[in-house]
C-alpha cells in the first residue's frame, strides 16, 4: 500500500523540484494565476533586496575594509537586517515548495488542485491565526528581536571608543570580551557584586510591593470599614503619578544635608541624619522603600478586584467549621489570591529585574564604592546603560547584556516548566 503510493508521487516531486524557481511548480500544477503571482513576488523580492543582501552579508562578514567609507556598526546592522529578511524570505520560499509539492500530490491522487479563488479562500481559512499575529510579530522582529540580535552580535566585536567610525573599523574578536569580564579581577568582582545586588533587589523590592499591596487590599476590604472609596483612591495615587517624577522628587527629599527626610522627618523624630545618598547600604534601603511606595498600588488594585470575586460560600463552609479569621485568610483568601494573580506577580519580578529608571534616576547607581567599576547600587541594566552611554564600552556592555539574558532566560524557563502554562500550551 505504502509503496504503491510512493511510486505515483511523480507529480509531487516534479512540482516540488520545479518550484525551486518559485511559481514554476504551481504552473506545472496548472495553477496559472497562483504561479504567476509567486513568480512576480519572488522576482520583486530578489531585485528589491539584492543590494541589501549583497552589501549586508559582505558587511556582516568583514565589518568594513576601508575608512572612512565603511562604518562597521552600520554594516553590522545592515547585515542583520539582510539576515532577517532572508529568513522571512526563506520561510515563504519553503511554503512555496510545500504548496507545489502538496498540490502535485493531489494530482497524483487524482484530485484537482483548487482554483485561484478557492485557494485564496482556503488560505485565509487555514492561516487566519497567522494573519492575526503577523502585524504584531513583524513589529516585534524589527523593534525587539533585531535590536537584541544586534546587541548580541556586538558582544563578539571589539567595538569601543578606539574602534569607532569614522577613523576606525571594528572587528570580530570572538569571545575576547567575555574572557576579559571573567579574567580581569576588577571586572569579575564588579560583575558578581552587581549581579548579587540585582538578584537581592529583584527579590526584596518585588516581594515587598506584592506583600504590602495584598495586605492593604485586605485591610481596606474589611466589611465594616467606612469611606472605602476614599481609601482606595488615596492608595492608588502613587501609581497615578508618573513614576519618573516621583523618583526625582524622592531623590531631592533624600539629599544627605538638605533633603526633607533628614531635615524634617528624622529631625522631628529626634533621629540623627542618615547619609542616604553617600552610603551604599542606606541608598539601597531608600530604594527599596521608594519601590515599595511606587509598586504596591498596582498589586493593591488587582487584589481588590480578586477579593471581591471570592465566592462567599467558601467562607461560609469555613465558618461552619469554626475557622478563625487567620485560618480563613491562610486557607482560603491567600491561596485564592496567589492563584489568580500568579502572572501579575511574576511580572513584578521581571519588571524590577529590569527596573532601570529608579536606580538611575534616584542616585545614578551611586554612591561610589571602593574597588568597583560600577556604582554601589547599580543593577545590571543600569550598569550596561552607563557603560554604553558614558564610557563608550559598547562591546563590553553588549557582552554583559548576553550574560544578563542567559541568566534571565534560564530562570524563566525553569519557572515556566514548573507552572502549568507549559502543559496547557
Amino acid at each position: 500500500m505504502e509503496k504503491s503510493k510512493s511510486r505515483d508521487r511523480s507529480h509531487a516531486r516534479i512540482a516540488g523540484l520545479l518550484s525551486i524557481i518559485p511559481g514554476v511548480g504551481q504552473l506545472y500544477n496548472k495553477q496559472i494565476i497562483k504561479g504567476i503571482a509567486f513568480l512576480v513576488v519572488a522576482l520583486l523580492y530578489i531585485t528589491g533586496f539584492w543590494n541589501l543582501f549583497n552589501m549586508g552579508f559582505w558587511g556582516l562578514f568583514t565589518l568594513g575594509t576601508e575608512v572612512p567609507r565603511d562604518n562597521s556598526i552600520f554594516l553590522l546592522a545592515e547585515g542583520l537586517i539582510a539576515f532577517l529578511i532572508l529568513c522571512i524570505g526563506l520561510l515563504f520560499y519553503g511554503l512555496n515548495l510545500r504548496d507545489a509539492f502538496k498540490n502535485g500530490e493531489k494530482i497524483d491522487m487524482g484530485q484537482h488542485p483548487e482554483n485561484f479563488i478557492n485557494s485564496v479562500k482556503s488560505l485565509f481559512d487555514t492561516s487566519y491565526p497567522y494573519l492575526l499575529i503577523s502585524p504584531g510579530l513583524l513589529l516585534l522582529i524589527f523593534t525587539v528581536i533585531f535590536p537584541i540580535l544586534f546587541s548580541f552580535a556586538l558582544a563578539f566585536t571589539n567595538y569601543d571608543l578606539y574602534h569607532t567610525a569614522p577613523a576606525h573599523l571594528a572587528n570580530w574578536v570572538g569571545l575576547e570580551t567575555f574572557k576579559q569580564i571573567f579574567t580581569v579581577d576588577i571586572w569579575r568582582s564588579t560583575f558578581f557584586d552587581v549581579l548579587g545586588w540585582t538578584v537581592i533587589w529583584t527579590l526584596v523590592a518585588s516581594t515587598l510591593s506584592v506583600a504590602i499591596g495584598i495586605f492593604m487590599a485586605i485591610v481596606v476590604h474589611q466589611k465594616d470599614l467606612k469611606f472605602k472609596r476614599l481609601w482606595r483612591t488615596i492608595l492608588v495615587l502613587p501609581w497615578a503619578v508618573p513614576g519618573f517624577v516621583t523618583i526625582l522628587i524622592f531623590a531631592g527629599m533624600f539629599n544627605d544635608s538638605f533633603g526633607a527626610v533628614n531635615t524634617v522627618i528624622l529631625h522631628a523624630l529626634g533621629l540623627h541624619a542618615v547619609s542616604w545618598m553617600t552610603t551604599a547600604s542606606w541608598t539601597k534601603i531608600a530604594l527599596l522603600f521608594i519601590q515599595s511606595w511606587l509598586g504596591f498600588p498596582y498589586i493593591f488594585v488587582v487584589t481588590t478586584g480578586v477579593l471581591q470575586s471570592i465566592p462567599e460560600d467558601l467562607y461560609e463552609a469555613a465558618i461552619m467549621d469554626g475557622a478563625t479569621a487567620w485560618e480563613k485568610f491562610r486557607k482560603i483568601t491567600l491561596p485564592f489570591i496567589l492563584n489568580q494573580m500568579a502572572p501579575i506577580i511574576i511580572t513584578q519580578y521581571t519588571f524590577n529585574f529590569n527596573n532601570f529608571n529608579i536606580i538611575y534616576l534616584f542616585n545614578n547607581g551611586g554612591p561610589a564604592v571602593p574597588n568597583s567599576t560600577a556604582g554601589g547600587t547599580d543593577i545590571l541594566v543600569s550598569w550596561i546603560y552607563k557603560l554604553t552611554m558614558s564610557s563608550n564600552q559598547y562591546a563590553l556592555a553588549a557582552a554583559l547584556t548576553i550574560l544578563l539574558s542567559i541568566f534571565v532566560i534560564a530562570i524563566a524557563l525553569w519557572q515556566f516548566k514548573r507552572t502549568n502554562s507549559f502543559k496547557e500550551g
Partner: protein, 422 residues
C-alpha cells in the same frame, strides 16, 4: 510524506545561500561618503546661551560668502557625545564647540578635521590655549575662550579685606561660620576637576610628561605621597563638617550653586560659567584667584579651553574651516568677549584694557598663571570616573586615601592597557 518537501527545501536553500554568498565581493564602491558640492549652508553648534556672542560674525560671514548658517545651542561638554550619534546620521553639525581636553579623544575617533592654520595665525592665541588644539603636531581647532576655576565670595558675608588668603585660613573661617549655621568656603573636591588644584600643590599629578613634553600615560601620579596627602587634606573639610555631604556626587554642583545664591555660603570655588548665573540671582559677589595651600604653594586649577572645531562628517569642510577661522579672529573674539564676557584666548585681548578692567576676567587671567592644561590625550577619558569615585569614597570616609587612590590608579592603568592593546 512530509519528508519529501522538507529535504528539497533544505537542498535548494543551500543552493540559494551559495548564490548569495559569492555576490558581495565587488560591493561597496557604490556607497561613498563624498557628496560634496552641497554648498551653501552650515550648521554650527554653539555653547548654551552663548550664541548671541557670534550673531554679528555669523551674519557678516553669511553676507560675505553668500551662505546660510544655522546656529544651535548645546552644552559644550556634551557636543562630542552628540556628534557621535548625529554625525553618521547626517544630521550632525559642521562646526562644534568642545572643551580642549576632549580633543585627543575626538581625534582618535577621527571626529575632527585637521585645519590648516599658519604659524602666524597660531601666534595670536595664548600659547597654552593653542597647545590644547594640537595633537601630534597637527591643529584641530581654534581656541574660543579660556576658563579656569576661581574663588567667588559673597561681599555681604565676607569683605574683601577680611578675605582669607590660604586654605588654612578658610578652614578656620568656615569653622566659625558653621557655628552660625552658615558655610564658609565650599568646593566640589570630590571631583578631580576641582581637587586637582590641591593635588598639584602637593605634588600629585595626572600624567607625567616625557622629555619631549608630551604626556606619558604610563606615568600616573595620582597615588604618590603628595596625592595621598592632598586627598587627606581635602577630606578633612568633609569630615569636619565644613562641607555638607549634600554637595557630594552628581547633583552636588546644583546644591553648591544654590547655597551660594541663597547666601548660605560665603565663598565657593567655581568657574566663569557662573558669572551671569550668580549675578542674576542677585548676589553681590567678588572674584579672586584661588587661595594658597597650607604648604604655601598656590592652588592650581585646570585651564579649560573652549574651541571651535570642524566635524569630519561635515559636507562642507572648506567652508566650515573658513568659518572657524573667521569667527575666531581677533576682531570677532573681541566682539564675543564684549557680549558674553568669556575670557578670550587672544594674546592682544588678554592684555587689553577691556579685559584688565574687568575684575572677573582679570581673576581668571591671574589664576591661569598658576593653572595647567587639562591633559588632552585620549587616555584622559579613563581617568575621570575611577578617580572621582576614589575621591568620593575618601571624602565619605569609606576608605583610606591610600587604598582608594591605589585602587583608582590600578583601574586607570588596566583600562588604559585594555584599550591600548590595538
Amino acid at each position: 510524506m512530509k519528508k519529501g518537501w522538507v529535504k528539497m527545501f533544505a537542498a535548494s536553500t543551500v543552493a540559494l545561500l551559495a548564490l548569495t554568498g559569492c555576490g558581495p565581493t565587488s560591493s561597496g564602491t557604490s556607497s561613498s561618503s563624498k557628496s560634496n558640492k552641497s554648498r551653501g549652508s552650515l550648521l554650527v553648534w554653539e555653547d548654551k546661551d552663548k550664541s548671541s556672542g557670534i550673531k554679528d560674525a555669523v551674519s557678516k560671514f553669511e553676507k560675505e560668502n553668500n551662505v546660510k548658517i544655522k546656529v544651535v545651542e548645546k552644552t559644550y561638554a556634551d557636543q562630542l557625545k552628540q556628534l557621535r550619534l548625529d554625525g553618521p546620521a547626517g544630521t550632525g553639525p559642521d562646526v562644534i564647540t568642545i572643551p580642549g581636553d576632549q580633543i585627543g579623544t575626538a581625534v582618535t575617533e577621527g571626529l575632527l578635521k585637521e585645519l590648516k592654520v599658519s604659524k602666524k595665525t597660531q601666534s595670536i592665541y595664548t600659547d597654552s590655549a593653542m597647545e590644547s588644539q594640537i595633537v601630534d603636531g597637527k591643529v584641530y581647532g581654534l581656541p574660543k575662550a579660556v576658563e579656569s576655576t576661581v574663588l567667588f565670595y559673597n561681599k555681604k558675608l565676607v569683605s574683601e579685606k577680611d578675605l582669607p588668603q590660604t586654605t588654612e585660613e578658610w578652614y578656620k573661617f568656615s569653622k566659625e561660620e558653621r557655628t552660625r549655621g552658615k558655610y564658609g568656603l565650599l568646593a566640589l573636591w570630590d571631583q578631580i576637576y576641582y581637587a586637582q588644584g590641591v593635588f598639584s600643590g602637593y605634588g600629585g599629578y595626572i600624567f607625567g610628561k616625557k622629555s619631549s613634553g608630551a604626556y606619558n600615560p604610563k606615568d600616573i601620579g595620582l597615588n604618590n605621597s603628595g596625592a595621598i596627602e592632598a586627598a587627606n587634606y581635602v577630606s578633612k573639610f568633609y569630615k569636619d563638617g565644613l562641607f555638607p555631604k549634600g554637595i557630594l556626587g552628581d547633583k552636588g554642583i546644583n546644591v553648591l550653586d544654590s547655597l551660594f545664591t541663597e547666601g548660605k555660603a560665603a565663598a565657593v570655588i567655581s568657574g566663569p560659567w557662573n558669572f551671569d548665573v550668580y549675578k542674576k540671582a542677585g548676589i553681590d559677589y567678588g572674584v579672586v584667584k584661588l587661595p594658597k595651600l597650607a604648604n604655601g604653594k598656590p592652588m592650581s586649577s585646570f585651564i579649560g579651553v573652549k574651541s571651535y572645531n570642524v566635524s569630519t562628517y561635515s559636507k562642507n569642510v572648506a567652508l566650515a574651516e573658513k568659518f572657524v577661522k573667521f569667527v575666531s579672529n581677533a576682531n570677532n573674539s573681541k566682539k564675543r568677549y564684549e557680549v558674553t564676557n568669556e575670557v578670550p584666548a587672544i594674546k592682544s585681548l588678554v592684555n587689553s584694557a577691556a579685559v584688565k578692567s574687568d575684575v572677573n576676567a582679570e581673576a581668571v587671567a591671574k589664576q591661569s598663571q598658576n593653572a595647567e592644561l587639562t591633559p588632552n590625550i585620549t587616555e584622559m577619558d579613563q581617568v575621570w570616573t575611577p578617580i572621582n569615585n576614589a575621591l568620593q569614597v575618601v571624602d565619605t570616609g569609606k576608605a583610606t586615601a591610600k587604598n582608594a587612590l591605589n585602587s583608582a590608579v590600578s583601574q586607570i592603568n588596566s583600562a588604559i592597557k585594555a584599550n591600548g592593546k590595538k
